[in-house]
């Protein structure tokens, strides 16, 4: 006799008709009474050879969406670029295991030109100093020490400016935006905001160099504790805004699908 699996809701004299075959089980007496194995659930043929689950479809859609994000960003030209798309090596301490870094930015290379020119000028200062009358009065050994000291100051100047640029990092991951700043060696700042907390994004490209070389500030207003995160003088601010917009859409879709980490 064919019986329905859930008999609690069926009266003894009810006629069972039109039941889904997938929930039918074949039993004559209780399997537990006879010491048999669990009853075999018969599945329809179309479910047996199923290749994609709904989760797979959602994952594929998300991968396609993420690819669109990378298509917008383009590719990184070299490892010291100010605009690193999906860097293979880059990590930061607060990064979660499953968090994917989408974009790493530093201030545009042109922001380094002023200190590089200053450093070049500093290299020639000892040569210029030789022509000053005061210089001839200083003993030779102190002249040597002074020159050495000056070149060390030049090296420190270069190192300090390079480090300030190198560790001034703006990161966009699939979960949040992060601002790590390292200015004047003694001033360190870390700020982050979840992408879901972003309210407004704006950019500002001002001046000849910024317009010509396409870099500027991107300001991100958030509903988090830190009201604003500013990506200063980053390349391609329009792309950054577009990507942040796409990431917000992705996060909203994740929230709808219930896949929020």
């Amino acid at each position: 006799m064919t019986r329905a699996k859930d008999l609690d809701t069926v009266a003894p004299d009810d006629v069972i008709t039109g039941t889904n075959p997938s929930v039918l089980v074949e039993t004559k007496t209780s399997p537990l009474d006879r010491g048999e194995e669990k009853p075999i659930v018969k599945l329809p043929n179309n479910q047996k050879n199923r290749s994609k689950t709904p989760k797979d479809v959602v994952d594929e859609n998300m991968a396609a969406f993420r690819q669109k994000v990378y298509d917008v960003l383009g590719k990184t030209s070299h490892p010291l670029s100010s605009f690193l798309v999906k860097p293979s090596v880059f990590k930061f301490r607060e990064q979660d295991d499953l968090e994917e870094i989408i974009l790493v930015m530093r201030p545009h290379w042109f922001t380094n030109v002023s200190w590089i020119l200053t450093a070049i000028f500093m290299l020639f200062v000892p040569t210029i100093a030789r022509f000053l009358p005061v210089w001839s009065g200083v003993p030779l050994m102190y002249q040597m020490l002074g020159i050495l000291f000056w070149y060390m100051i030049t090296l420190a100047f270069v190192l300090e400016n390079f480090l300030s640029w190198y560790f001034d990092v703006y990161i966009i991951t699939d979960e949040r935006v992060v601002d790590i700043e390292f200015k004047n060696l003694l001033d360190k700042k870390f700020a982050e905001a979840k992408i879901t907390m972003i309210q407004d994004v704006s950019s500002r490209v001002a001046g000849i160099s910024q317009t010509m070389l396409n870099y500027g500030d991107v300001r991100i207003q958030t509903a988090a504790e830190i009201p604003e995160i500013c990506f200063e003088k980053v390349p391609n601010p329009d792309k950054v805004i577009k990507v942040l917009q796409m990431m917000r859409q992705e996060e909203e879709q994740e929230a709808i699908d219930g896949r929020v980490r």
Binding site: F92, R93, L155, E160, L185, K188
Partner: protein
């Protein structure tokens, strides 16, 4: 009138100036090494090794300069 010879005092003044200057510079170099090691822990990138290497080279040069200011007559 014969003016007194200040050259000896000038040399001493120069030595003090060199010693204090290189000492301050050495402190600065130590701060750089410490900050670089801290920041490379925060941010892990391809050139971190090179940055650490240069910070230590800089520190070594600062120590050398300090020794020079003491040893030189």
């Amino acid at each position: 009138m014969i003016l007194p010879d200040f050259s000896g005092y000038l040399i001493i003044l120069e030595r003090i100036f060199a010693f204090v200057g290189t000492g301050l510079y050495l402190i600065f170099a130590i701060v750089i090494v410490k900050q670089v090691s801290m920041m490379t822990k925060n941010v892990n990138d391809k050139f971190n090794g090179m940055v650490i290497f240069f910070s230590y080279i800089h520190l070594a040069l600062a120590v050398f300069l300090m020794l020079m200011s003491i040893i030189w007559p």
